[in-house]
């Protein structure tokens, strides 16, 4: 435990197999509120399986998850949501043909009172603008179709949507994938502001060691379904991480 910070979510010895392939072999991790944890590892190392267990998409074969120190079991994605866990997937789950504010309120639409249950576009527009302003995402209008936005803006909208649901634990799947430097900056700044709020725990999956070390407070490295390295971001370097992975790669080739 890291001093005054309160632990948001903790996973202990998670095991998950698909047929005779062991995707996770006893993975443990924990994140506190206001902290950002980076999960690094190669393709197929088990990062996505871990995220999918935390979001309730997969159920672990063994191990335990704790939210706010309480043991929980997620039977579905909705179970995890009910515990304040929101995930922004790589496909972003945005509808291109709809406006920003429609996307932000999809399935949680605001309605006018009355028996007709008509959409309250005005209130959704206003609340969407407020939510975006609150986390410092600038768009010229929330009426813009999402399809007309850049990759970074779309990612920001997806994050804003997740946060505006009162998420307390935010999982980001490759938030900087296929993004130019300026676009990536937009997202890095956004994550920094969320971290500064202090009430959200962020877990992000990434490939890029240098970027992850810049954004995160702490990183873990997953290889072959196991956590092989864990360190505060300030106490390690991209070179050290690369070295570990390279050594592993050589050992695998030799063996």
């Amino acid at each position: 435990m890291s001093g005054a910070k309160t632990e948001a979510i903790r996973a202990e010895k998670l095991v998950k197999s698909f047929g005779n392939v062991t995707a996770l072999n006893g993975v443990s991790m924990a994140v506190s509120r206001g902290e950002t944890l980076g999960i690094l590892g190669d393709n197929g190392a088990g990062k996505s399986t871990l995220i999918k267990i935390l979001t309730g998409y997969h159920q672990p074969d063994a191990g335990q998850i704790f939210v706010d120190g309480e043991p929980v079991r997620f039977g579905s994605v909705d179970d995890a949501r009910a515990h304040g866990i929101e995930c922004v997937y790589q496909d972003l789950a945005l509808v291109n043909g709809l406006s920003i504010y429609h996307n932000m309120f999809l399935k949680r639409e605001l309605l006018w009172g009355g028996p007709l249950r008509l959409l309250n576009h005005r209130a959704m527009r206003r609340r969407a603008m407020e939510a975006l302003a609150e986390i410092g995402v600038a768009v010229s209008s929330v009426d813009l179709e999402v399809g007309a936005l850049s990759g970074g803006q779309r990612q920001a909208i997806a994050v804003a949507r997740a946060v505006s649901t009162d998420a307390r634990i935010l999982l980001l799947d490759e938030p900087l994938a296929a993004m130019g430097a300026r676009e990536a900056r937009l997202i890095i700044d956004l994550i920094d502001r969320l971290k500064a709020r202090g009430d959200i725990a962020i877990v992000m999956i990434a490939h890029n060691y240098a970027q992850t070390l810049e954004i995160c407070d702490r990183v873990i490295l997953i290889q072959h379904g196991e956590v092989t390295f864990e360190s505060p971001a300030g106490a390690t370097s991209a070179e050290e991480l690369l070295d570990i992975v390279r050594r592993e790669y050589r050992a695998a080739r030799a063996g």
Partner: protein, 322 residues
């Protein structure tokens, strides 16, 4: 401020409906100059009757196209509905109730189409192609292949289509309601979301199957209602009325008005405007006395041009290819 107005006007002009309105107005001007009978009360009444049926059908098809489905059998439901009504009426059920019963059966047909398409994962193109033949056979069996006359008192027949303007009033009322459903209800928003990104819609928790099935029920019911209106207007029931022709006119109205065949985009108002354009052409060229063969060539070419224009206008709006 000034540039904002220009920008807005430009955006408006690039909307698919706008170009169709411009073409429609041009057609009206042309037909008025070419034929002094075009802008007469009697002829406008005829135009309104050309327009009404495809527009009502279009309201259903637009909802289906937006969520990436289609109903090819709606024209057969159109033909079946009046016979259902007459048969129920013959059993001694009062005409208004017989109308309700006929529409209920049409809704049931839509439900069956939806359940087969969603439950058994048959593409709706195939499901409704099968239903097209099945319902034709059903109508011919029920009618024994003979036309029949409509029953009912004068007030009822007037409301249900016999009064010169009743069909267009029905069409405009349905357009108004469906426009609100599409733009101002969760049902409409979720229909667009499903067509735009079905994975995203699912992850957001939208009840995809329920909405798709609901839109099939809606389309069949509107098809049946249109068939009833036409039957009362003409005063007789024909087992071969409607058919694929009315279905294609409905789909064409929607697509000319900007509904994307690939789903995710479309407007009810666009369907109305598209239907008006087709109706004006149909009536205008008939007045001109154009040969029926030439007429089909002109209509076909016009539909093609309108659709090509729409696809390219959508690109110019910055929405990219869709």
């Amino acid at each position: 401020m000034g540039s904002g107005v220009v920008r807005r006007a430009y955006d408006l002009l690039l909307r698919p409906e706008a170009s169709v309105i411009v073409v429609s107005v041009a057609l009206v001007v042309y037909f008025d100059i070419a034929n002094s009978n075009f802008l007469t009360t009697a002829n406008l009444q005829t135009v309104s009757q050309f327009v009404a049926a495809p527009v009502i059908i279009a309201c259903g098809e637009i909802m289906l196209l937006i969520c990436r489905e289609i109903d090819l059998s709606v024209g057969q439901v159109f033909a079946l509905a009046p016979f259902l009504m007459e048969n129920v009426n013959d059993l001694g059920v009062p005409e208004p109730l017989a109308i309700v019963a006929a529409l209920a059966v049409c809704a049931l047909i839509g439900l069956v189409i939806g359940l087969i398409t969603i439950g058994l994962r048959v593409p709706s193109f195939i499901t409704t192609l099968g239903m097209l033949f099945l319902i034709t056979g059903l109508t011919l069996t029920i009618s024994r292949g003979y036309p029949a006359n409509t029953a009912g008192g004068p007030t009822l027949t007037d409301i249900m289509g016999a009064w010169s303007y009743s069909e267009i009033v029905w069409a405009l009322a349905i357009v108004a309601v469906m426009h609100i459903v599409l733009r101002h209800t969760r049902w409409g928003l979720h229909t667009i979301a499903i067509g735009g990104n079905i994975v995203a819609a699912g992850e957001a928790g939208i009840a995809i199957n329920r909405i798709k099935i609901g839109n099939f029920v809606l389309t069949s019911t509107l098809g049946g209602l249109t068939g009833l209106l036409e039957a009362f207007r003409v005063g007789s029931i024909d087992p071969l009325a409607g058919g694929s022709n009315i279905m294609f006119l409905g789909v064409a109205s929607g697509v000319i008005g900007g509904t994307a065949i690939a789903g995710g985009a479309g407007t009810i108002i666009g369907g109305l405007v598209g239907g008006i354009m087709l109706g004006v052409m149909q009536d205008g060229f008939t007045l001109q006395g154009i040969n029926a063969f030439t007429f089909d060539i002109i209509i076909g070419a016009a539909i093609l041009i309108a659709m090509i224009a729409n696809i390219h206008l959508a690109r110019m709006r910055g929405g990219g290819p869709r």
